[in-house]
């Protein structure tokens, strides 16, 4: 019994970390400009595949590959933001949904063409392989590292948003964009910065998480629902909301998979449905739009 609970909590936390890394950027960009960017998962997939190519094919160091993937995806995302997203900022939600669906389709095809249809995972470095014994039970070292990494990112982001000038600007723009612009904050530049950072984090999430969530060309579509759940339950424009939502979803998902596998994600979806019904802005939302 205890064993089941511990394994639910542990695998749930690992999954939650991946979801958090990928979704937090989406939450903040959506909160900033209200863009319904469904294609955010494509950045995570791109990061994962870049790291895969570097580590598994070229033998680059794991952590160097993570860095390269993050920078490369951030650069790609800035180009896409300028060329493709900017014209639809002021268009309706439908245009944004369609545009991001187009990006998802194109990214699936490119990934399929470059890496084939089979699920792939980035090789874990030797230093993180094996099990770690922490007294009464041993855990896979890599997943412990993953969870610790997620915690570090969360603390860093929380600090950056709550305690720095850049964070204050972001919070101001999320709460009231017109007013933020009125006091001289350049929200467009701010948005580009946040978009790039969010995409870089997603890339890291995709690369680090490939051991938990395997890379396939259909990644952006398959996990889209999960990313959107984290964002919509967590509330837009927040750092801690998506963390809590990701943890809830991670625990819920692994509990469902371990305890009642025959039901699939049925109860997750029903729970989301009920939560959004009562709180359309999410459980932990701070942006009251």
């Amino acid at each position: 019994m205890t064993d089941t609970v511990i394994s639910i909590l542990f695998s749930g936390a690992a999954f939650a970390t991946v979801l958090y890394l990928i979704s937090v950027g989406l939450s903040i960009t959506m909160g900033l400009l209200g863009i319904a960017n469904l294609a955010h998962g494509a950045f995570a997939m791109a990061g994962g595949y870049i790291a895969f190519a570097l580590v598994n094919r070229l033998g680059v160091n794991f952590f160097a590959a993570l860095l390269v993937a993050a920078v490369a995806v951030a650069a790609i995302s800035v180009v896409l933001e300028r060329l493709i997203y900017r014209p639809v900022y002021d268009a309706g939600e439908l245009e944004q949904v369609l545009l991001s669906m187009g990006l998802i389709f194109a990214s699936i095809a490119i990934a399929h063409f470059a890496f084939g249809p089979l699920p792939l995972a980035v090789n874990v470095p030797a230093s993180l392989q094996g099990q770690v014994d922490i007294g009464w039970r041993s855990f896979p070292a890599y997943r412990l590292f993953l969870i610790a990494f997620g915690l570090c990112v969360f603390v860093t982001l929380w600090f950056a948003i709550e305690r720095t000038a850049l964070g204050a600007r972001i919070r101001a723009a999320v709460d009231n964009r017109a007013m933020a612009e009125g006091v001289g904050i350049n929200t467009r530049v701010l948005f580009t910065v946040v978009f790039a950072l969010g995409s870089a984090l997603a890339a890291v999430g995709g690369a680090l998480g490939s051991e938990v969530v395997a890379l396939t060309p259909f990644y952006p579509l398959e996990y889209l629902v999960y990313f959107l759940i984290v964002v919509s339950i967590g509330g837009l424009g927040s750092v801690s909301g998506p963390a809590l939502a990701a943890l809830l979803l991670g625990f819920g998902d692994s509990a469902c998979k371990i305890l009642i596998p025959e039901f699939g994600a049925f109860f997750i979806y029903v729970a989301i449905f009920l939560v959004l019904l009562v709180r359309p802005n999410g459980l932990f939302g701070r942006a009251q739009s």
Partner: protein, 347 residues
């Protein structure tokens, strides 16, 4: 132009929508042409007609009421499973199947609509998806009833009116789909040109103002949603009866996305977007996706991006814009000519 003239012009514009223009008969002429001259394409043709009907149903909510729903497949699937289960258990009359499917999908639309139409933005997108996802998981779980992942098989579909049997070449199936689509088109056309349909457009453009002039916004949206769900259910039922098979993919996100893409490629909110978009999509997919479906996905993605960036109204939007430009040039010339005559007469 005086106020009276402006009012007359507006009334004239509204009335002109009621008149049937010859162009509106084009889809039916083409469909009959396919039936008589291209019999080898009847199977594909029936699938196209079903998707046209499905996209037409989405047009009511998306194009007219302006509700962005990413889970329209829920209603299609509901109709498909309703008609399919009826046929498996001995009620194989196709028309009863259609009616039952429409009712089942309408009830689902009513229940889910009451709930999800209260929200907007991201929550609305999510809830729309959630409805289809929940049904997908439920249908997968209830494999004793639905066949689960293997799909629903073993239907016996009786002849239509007890007389027209479904033949091997798909002739009856094609005409059956065509007749159902025709009736649905007449109905939807009547709905969107009615004051009710106009009020939906008003709600899409400015819901607050419509509420201020006394339109029951929430109720109108819900009615549109239920109508749309019922028609989607009929489309699903047609698909189940003609293919004599229902798979879980009727609830899939891919299907919801596909029908959205078809409608938007053709042009949403124009009644004929479905008639343009769905055939083009299906024919292109049939041609290009045979060899390499992923290649097709790539170009579909690029096409979607291009439509959003350069052609918001879809194909019909582009056609309208071109016609308007030509029309303006012509009337401009006439006006200039008239002004010339006037000034020369005056001098």
């Amino acid at each position: 132009m005086s106020l009276q003239d402006a009012r007359n012009a507006a009334v004239e514009k509204l009335l002109s929508r009621r008149r049937l223009s010859p162009l509106e008969l084009l889809p039916w002429v083409i469909a009959l042409g396919v039936y008589f001259f291209l019999p080898q394409y009847l199977t594909l043709g029936s699938q196209i007609l079903i998707m046209v009907l499905f996209a037409l149903s989405l047009d009511i909510t998306l194009g007219y009421a302006g509700v962005i729903i990413l889970g329209h497949a829920a209603f299609y699937g509901m109709g498909a499973y309703t008609a399919g289960l009826l046929a498996v258990h001995g009620w194989g009359d196709p028309l009863i199947g259609l009616v039952a499917a429409a009712i089942a999908a309408a009830i689902l639309g009513l229940v889910s609509g009451i709930v999800i139409l209260r929200t907007t933005g991201l929550a609305l997108l999510m809830l729309g998806m959630a409805v289809a996802l929940i049904l997908y998981e439920a249908a997968n779980r209830l494999h004793d009833i639905t066949g689960g992942f293997d799909g629903l098989r073993g239907m016996t579909i009786q002849p239509i009116f007890g007389y027209f049997d479904f033949d091997f070449f798909g002739k009856t199936a094609f005409l059956y789909c065509l007749a159902v689509l025709f009736l649905a088109w007449l109905f939807v056309r009547q709905v969107v040109i009615s004051p009710f349909g106009r009020s939906l457009v008003g709600i899409q453009e400015n819901a607050d103002r419509m509420a201020a002039i006394g339109t029951p916004v929430a109720r109108r949206k819900l009615i549109a949603f239920v109508l749309s769900a019922a028609i989607a259910g009929i489309a699903g039922a047609l698909s189940a009866q003609i293919n004599q098979f229902v798979s879980l993919s009727v609830f899939s996100f891919e299907l919801s996305g596909t029908v959205l893409v078809m409608l938007v490629l053709g042009g949403a909110g124009r009644l004929y977007g479905a008639f343009v978009g769905a055939p083009l999509y299906m024919i292109a997919q049939d041609q290009f996706a045979k060899g390499d479906p992923v290649y097709w996905l790539f170009w579909l993605g690029i096409l979607l991006i291009a439509v959003v960036l350069f052609a918001r109204g879809g194909i019909l939007g582009v056609v309208d814009a071109v016609r308007e430009t030509i029309g303006r040039r012509l009337t401009g010339r006439v006006a200039v000519a008239a002004a010339d005559t006037k000034s020369s007469a005056g001098s």
